[in-house]
């Protein structure tokens, strides 16, 4: 019987062939923690489970990104607990300013094709960009991996996304990600794996954009076959390949040639419309960042739109690079200087304002056009604030006019 990418990866880890629906106990290659949750994970491991030392420090990576740098005495103290724990246990730690966990683990090649990469954050589906089985789990599940080296997983069924064609000018990976949310809906892929086909030509950064949002339709993982740029950058295990006999529970066809600019409207990621339906909506804040769209390529598209322009007086534009590496790339040419010259505000690499905790929290009357991945009520601040999700090109055009704007309207 043929196997999907998820079945191949879990079979390899279980050391026997497994298929969708089975429960397996496996040793993940990586179990990531970040600043927001590591102290509580440590408490569960040491105090509740009674296990003082991690099973395998090499299996663990810690990243300080959620409130980086610390915004309060409490978060600063928590981060010091995380640093002490990393030092005591011999665990690799990426500290303030290095960037968002999901970006860092791809850059550092901690996430690799065929690996099982679990994270204490739901956007761990982003590791599917490099062909890793990347999935988010809660603190107790992560604590159990740290303590025992293992976890239980249900082998998921797979929904095949079959794309054809190429992006029109100004249409990009974010529009594809939003279109998938629109078609599958918020719970449409619950418990399933997504596999993205017909997209061998997508660069790694574009795959990260798409795979980061697999969780927004309820998926466990968002797998890209290890093709194209991924095959150039990594060595691919010979047991990981697209099997023509693999079984998919559903196939969603997406005609990329016809794809238009998409906007998710308040307050659900699957409430997606074509941009003209919301064009002209006034905003107060534009956010360019997150694990979905905080990379050099995203900042560059924004800079191309903002060159020799100024952002509207009624708007604050916050730019939060996904990592120090992406910031360096944007400093090496005129990307950052164009953004700053236009009036954008640059913050430290990290999650930034995505979760409404710091670096641009929204107030009661704020309306934000965000390149992030979630727009639930109250996600970024006040429960009466409104969040629209769109691409970096739309974000930049919107910052200039102060209203949701098609980048093609900017000369």
């Amino acid at each position: 019987m043929g196997q999907t990418l998820s079945e191949q990866i879990l079979s390899h880890a279980a050391q026997r062939p497994v298929h969708a629906g089975e429960l397996v106990v496996v040793a993940p290659d990586v179990a990531m923690g970040h600043d927001s949750l590591t102290p509580s994970i440590v408490t569960i491991m040491q105090d509740e489970l009674g296990v003082p030392r991690v099973h395998d420090p090499e299996q663990i990576v810690l990243v300080i990104d959620h409130v980086a740098p610390a915004a309060t005495v409490g978060t600063a103290n928590s981060q010091n607990i995380t640093r002490r724990f990393a030092r005591d246990q011999g665990i690799r730690l990426f500290d303030v300013g290095r960037g968002i966990c999901h970006q860092v683990l791809v850059e550092e090649k901690v996430a690799r094709p065929g690996y099982i990469v679990l994270g204490s954050d739901s956007h761990s589906t982003g590791y599917g960009s490099v062909g890793a089985f990347g999935s988010g789990m809660g603190s107790t599940d992560i604590a159990l991996v740290w303590a025992t080296g293992r976890t239980w997983l249900r082998v998921p069924e797979t929904i095949r996304i079959q794309a054809s064609g190429r992006f029109k000018p100004w249409v990009e990976a974010k529009d594809l990600a939003l279109k998938i949310c629109r078609e599958l809906t918020i719970g449409g892929a619950n418990y399933a794996a997504l596999e993205y086909h017909g997209l061998e030509w997508l660069a790694v950064n574009e795959r990260q954009t798409v795979a980061s949002m697999a969780v927004e339709v309820g998926a466990k993982v968002g797998m890209f076959p290890p093709s194209g740029e991924v095959a150039e950058q990594f060595s691919i295990p010979d047991w990981l390949y697209v099997d023509p006999q693999a079984h998919y529970i559903q196939t969603l066809a997406v005609d990329v040639d016809q794809l238009e600019l998409q906007v998710a409207i308040p307050s659900s990621v699957d409430h997606v419309v074509d941009l003209p339906e919301v064009a002209g909506t006034p905003v107060t804040t534009v956010f360019l960042g997150t694990c979905t769209n905080g990379r050099y390529e995203d900042m560059r598209i924004a800079a191309d739109v903002l060159k020799d322009k100024k952002i509207a007086e009624t708007v604050r534009m916050i730019v939060t690079p996904a990592s120090s590496q992406e910031l360096k790339r944007a400093l090496a040419d005129d990307t950052i200087s164009i953004l700053v010259e236009a009036g954008a505000t640059l913050t430290a690499p990290g999650c930034g304002m995505c979760m409404g905790r710091h670096q641009g929290t929204l107030g009661d009357d704020d309306v934000c056009l965000s390149t992030g991945n979630r727009n639930f009520k109250g996600r970024m601040g006040s429960p009466s604030s409104l969040i629209y999700l769109a691409s970096p090109a739309v974000a930049a055009a919107t910052a200039i006019t102060g209203k949701i704007t098609d980048p093609r309207q900017i000369s």
Binding site: S36, L37, G50, S122, S139, D141, W152, G218, P383
Partner: protein
């Protein structure tokens, strides 16, 4: 008696506990006080131990934050009955020992504010003179919930359910 707190579909974990109220951000507060704090402020103030949540599809979608479940545990929620659950929330609830059930009949029939009797050992819920069956979870999930969560399970058995 347990009061029914009824919610709609796609109730996300940002609603259950907004990120600003995470223990990381408010280390000196009881996260249970933040349960539904912005969407239904009366919940955290007036929910009694044993009350139940009844919800539509995809309950607990969005962020993997386990403290959304912890908040409900702190309020001593007796059970959740929904049409369906988001997968990370489902895992987190089982892991923390909150009984979860899927029952279109119960979700359809019960209204917010109803007073019911939850009888988990006998797999039923009684509302007035009607007795509803509580369909059992998959065996591995039941085993975990019965002992109070995955930590008690692993401590007792030294392994995961189904593992040799």
């Amino acid at each position: 008696m347990s009061r029914v707190w009824k919610f709609g579909s796609d109730c996300d974990t940002d609603q259950i506990v907004p990120g600003r109220y995470a223990p990381y951000m408010r280390p000196n507060d009881d996260v249970g006080d933040a349960a539904f704090i912005e969407v239904r402020p009366e919940f955290a103030k007036t929910a009694k131990p044993g009350d139940i949540i009844v919800a539509g599809q995809n309950f607990g979608c969005g962020s993997s934050r386990e403290y959304a479940v912890t908040a409900l545990k702190r309020r001593q929620i007796g059970a959740i009955v929904a049409l369906s659950y988001a997968r990370i929330f489902f895992r987190n609830s089982i892991n923390l020992g909150i009984p979860l059930f899927e029952s279109p009949e119960i979700v359809d029939s019960l209204q917010d504010g109803d007073e019911v009797t939850l009888d988990i050992p006998n797999h039923c819920l009684i509302a007035g003179d009607k007795v509803y069956q509580l369909p059992p979870l998959p065996k591995f999930a039941q085993e975990i919930v019965e002992v109070g969560g995955i930590v008690p399970y692993v401590k007792e058995h030294g392994r995961f359910p189904g593992e040799k």
